[in-house]
C-alpha cells in the first residue's frame, strides 16, 4: 500500500476524527423512522462494524454521519464539525474529510477509472477547475497513488464498467482514499461480492485502518466478517442500538439478540 507518504505506518493519521452521535432521530418524509434516538461515541482510529438486518437503520446511520441523510433531531459530531448544523460549502468541506464506499460501488460506468477516482478530489478542487477539466499535478499524483495502493493502477485508463465487482469496489476505495480522508465509511461493502473477494476487500479496509490510522465504520450483516475484521461492534435493530461491545467476543446469543431471531446459515459468509 503506497500510503507511506501520508502517514507513517501503524501511527494514526494526524487528522483521524472521532464520531459522536447524540440522541439522533431520523424520520423520512414518507413517515418511516430510520433511527430512534441513537447515541454512541467512536474514538479516532477505531475500526467499528455496525451489524443488523436490512431495514435495521444501518444505512441510515452511516449516512447521517456525512449528512447524506439529514438527522431529524439530535447531534452528529464528526471531528471538529457538527454535521447536522451544516449545509452548502461547509457540509461539502466535512464530506471531503469523510470517505465512503457503497454496496453497489456507485461508479460512473462509462467514465474512465481515472475520472471516477478523481471524484475524490472534488472537495479540494474549485468548481471552475473541474468544469474546465483541468486536474492539478498534485491531484493526478494522489489519484495514481490511491489506485496503486489498491492494486488497480494498470487499469487507470479503462472504463469502470468493464471491471469485475471486486475490482470496482477497489476503485471505489481508491476514490475514497484520494480524498485523503479522516474517516472511512463503508455501507455493506461486500454484500455484492463473492466470498474470496469479500475477504480481500475487508482486508483492504482493515489496512486503511491499521496503516493510515483512519476511523473506519463499516456496515455488515454477516457475523463472521464483523468478528474477524473489526474490534468493536454496534448492533442495530429497528433503529435502536441493541449491542455495543467487542466484536471478537460477541456470542451467538448476542447476534440472535441483534437479529431478533435464531442464527441462520446465511448470517455467515463462510470460508
Amino acid at each position: 500500500m503506497g500510503s507511506g507518504d501520508h502517514a507513517p505506518e501503524g501511527i494514526p493519521a494526524s487528522g483521524a476524527w472521532p464520531i459522536h452521535l447524540e440522541d439522533v432521530i431520523v424520520r423520512y418524509p414518507n413517515g418511516v423512522v430510520g433511527l430512534r434516538g441513537v447515541s454512541l461515541s467512536i474514538a479516532a482510529g477505531e475500526m467499528v462494524s455496525v451489524v443488523g438486518l436490512s431495514g435495521s437503520g444501518k444505512s441510515t446511520m452511516i449516512r447521517t454521519i456525512n449528512g447524506l441523510v439529514p438527522a431529524t433531531s439530535g447531534t452528529v459530531r464528526v471531528g471538529p464539525y457538527t454535521v447536522n448544523e451544516l449545509g452548502g460549502r461547509r457540509l461539502r468541506q466535512v464530506r471531503g474529510g469523510i470517505g465512503m464506499i457503497f454496496q453497489g460501488f456507485n461508479l460512473a460506468d462509462r467514465a474512465s477509472i481515472y475520472h471516477n477516482v478523481l471524484v475524490g478530489r472534488f472537495s479540494h478542487t474549485p468548481t471552475w477547475k473541474t468544469l474546465l477539466g483541468v486536474a492539478s499535478h498534485t491531484d493526478r499524483e494522489i489519484v495514481m497513488r490511491a489506485l496503486d495502493s489498491v492494486g488497480m493502477l494498470e487499469k487507470v485508463w479503462g472504463r469502470a464498467g468493464a471491471l469485475s465487482g471486486g475490482q470496482k469496489q477497489r476503485v471505489a476505495i481508491a476514490r475514497a482514499l484520494s480524498q485523503e480522508p479522516e474517516v472511512m465509511l463503508a455501507d455493506e461493502p461486500v454484500a455484492s461480492l463473492d466470498p474470496p473477494t469479500a475477504h480481500s476487500v475487508m482486508s483492504d479496509l482493515k489496512r486503511v485502518n491499521t496503516e493510515r490510522g483512519l476511523t473506519v465504520l463499516v456496515n455488515l450483516h454477516l457475523m463472521d466478517l464483523a468478528r474477524q475484521y473489526t474490534t468493536r461492534m454496534i448492533g442495530l435493530r429497528a433503529g435502536e442500538v441493541v449491542y455495543d461491545g467487542p466484536a471478537s467476543s460477541a456470542t451467538d446469543a448476542d447476534f440472535e439478540a441483534i437479529y431478533g431471531r435464531p442464527i441462520q446459515s446465511r448470517d455467515t459468509l463462510g470460508q
Binding site: 447524506l68 461539502r92 461508479l107 460506468d109 471524484v119 472534488f122 478542487t125 473541474t130 465509511l185
Partner: protein, 247 residues
C-alpha cells in the same frame, strides 16, 4: 390492455360532443381520378430539374448540419439542467417549462416569424432548426438521464462535490452515448424539415419544391423527393455507423 385502448379510441372518435371524426369513405372513390393522375406523373421523375437542385440541396444540407451543431452545443447543459438527478433544484421546472413552450410551437410558425424578422434566406431556417432540435434533443436526453441509474451521483455528493462538478466529471460521460445518438437523429430530421422550410422563404430546397408544385411539374417534384430520399438514407447510414462506434 389492447382491448381497452381500442375501446377508448372508438369511444373518443365517435363522441357526439366532439363531433366525431368525419371520415367519408365515399370521397375516396369520387376523387380518386384527380389524385391517380398526379401519382402517375410522380412515377415518372424528370431528371432535367437536377442541375437546378444542387445549390438549394447544398443549402439544405448546410442548414441541417449548422442547425444540428448549434442545437447540440446548447442542448448539453440544458439537458443536464432539465433532469432531476443532475439538477435537484427548483430551477429544473423553469427549464422544462421553457422547453415545453419551445416544443409546442410548430417549426413552420418559427420559420414564418423569423423570415419576417431577419429576412429571407438560410438564417431564419437555421434558427428554426436550432429551436426545433433543442426541443427534441433536450427532452429525450433529459428523460434518459432521469431514468438512468444515478448512484454515482451519491458518491459524488459523499465526496463533497458540487452538483456542477458531479455533472461535469461523471454525468457527462454517462450521458454521452444517448446525447450523441439524439444529436445524430436531429441531423436526420433536419434534412427533412429544412426542405420544407423553404416554403415560407427560409432557404433550402423548399422554395424549389414550392415552385415546381405550383407549375404542376410532378415529374420534377418526384425527382427532388428522390434526391431528398437519397440524402436522408445516406445520413442515416452514416449516423448508424457512428452510433455503433459510440457504444
Amino acid at each position: 390492455m389492447i382491448v381497452v385502448v381500442l375501446i377508448a379510441i372508438t369511444v373518443i372518435t365517435t363522441l357526439p360532443a366532439l363531433g366525431g371524426v368525419h371520415i367519408d369513405l365515399g370521397a375516396i372513390a369520387r376523387n380518386w381520378a384527380n389524385g391517380s393522375e398526379r401519382i402517375a406523373k410522380l412515377f415518372h421523375p424528370d431528371p432535367s430539374i437536377l442541375p437546378r437542385t444542387w445549390k438549394p440541396l447544398l443549402e439544405t444540407l448546410e442548414m441541417a448540419v449548422v442547425g444540428a451543431a448549434l442545437s447540440a452545443l446548447l442542448a448539453l447543459p440544458l439537458s443536464l439542467w432539465a433532469a432531476r438527478p443532475s439538477n435537484p433544484t427548483r430551477s429544473r421546472a423553469g427549464v422544462r417549462a421553457v422547453l415545453n413552450v419551445v416544443r409546442a410551437v410548430p417549426d413552420l410558425v418559427y420559420a414564418t416569424i423569423l423570415v419576417a424578422m431577419v429576412g429571407v434566406g438560410a438564417l431564419p431556417g437555421v434558427i428554426t432548426l436550432v429551436l426545433f432540435d433543442l426541443g427534441i434533443v433536450v427532452k429525450l436526453v433529459s428523460e434518459a438521464i432521469d431514468s438512468a441509474d444515478a448512484s454515482y451521483m451519491e458518491a459524488g455528493h459523499a465526496a463533497g462535490g458540487t452538483q456542477t462538478q458531479i455533472n461535469r466529471l461523471t454525468a457527462l460521460p454517462q450521458t454521452w452515448p444517448v446525447y450523441a445518438s439524439q444529436v445524430l437523429y436531429s441531423l436526420e430530421l433536419n434534412v427533412r424539415v429544412s426542405s420544407i422550410l423553404g416554403l415560407v422563404g427560409a432557404g433550402g430546397l423548399g422554395r424549389l419544391i414550392d415552385e415546381v408544385r405550383g407549375f404542376y411539374r410532378y415529374g420534377a417534384l418526384s425527382m427532388i423527393i428522390l434526391e431528398i430520399l437519397v440524402v436522408v438514407i445516406a445520413i442515416e447510414v452514416a449516423s448508424n455507423y457512428l452510433r455503433k462506434r459510440l457504444r
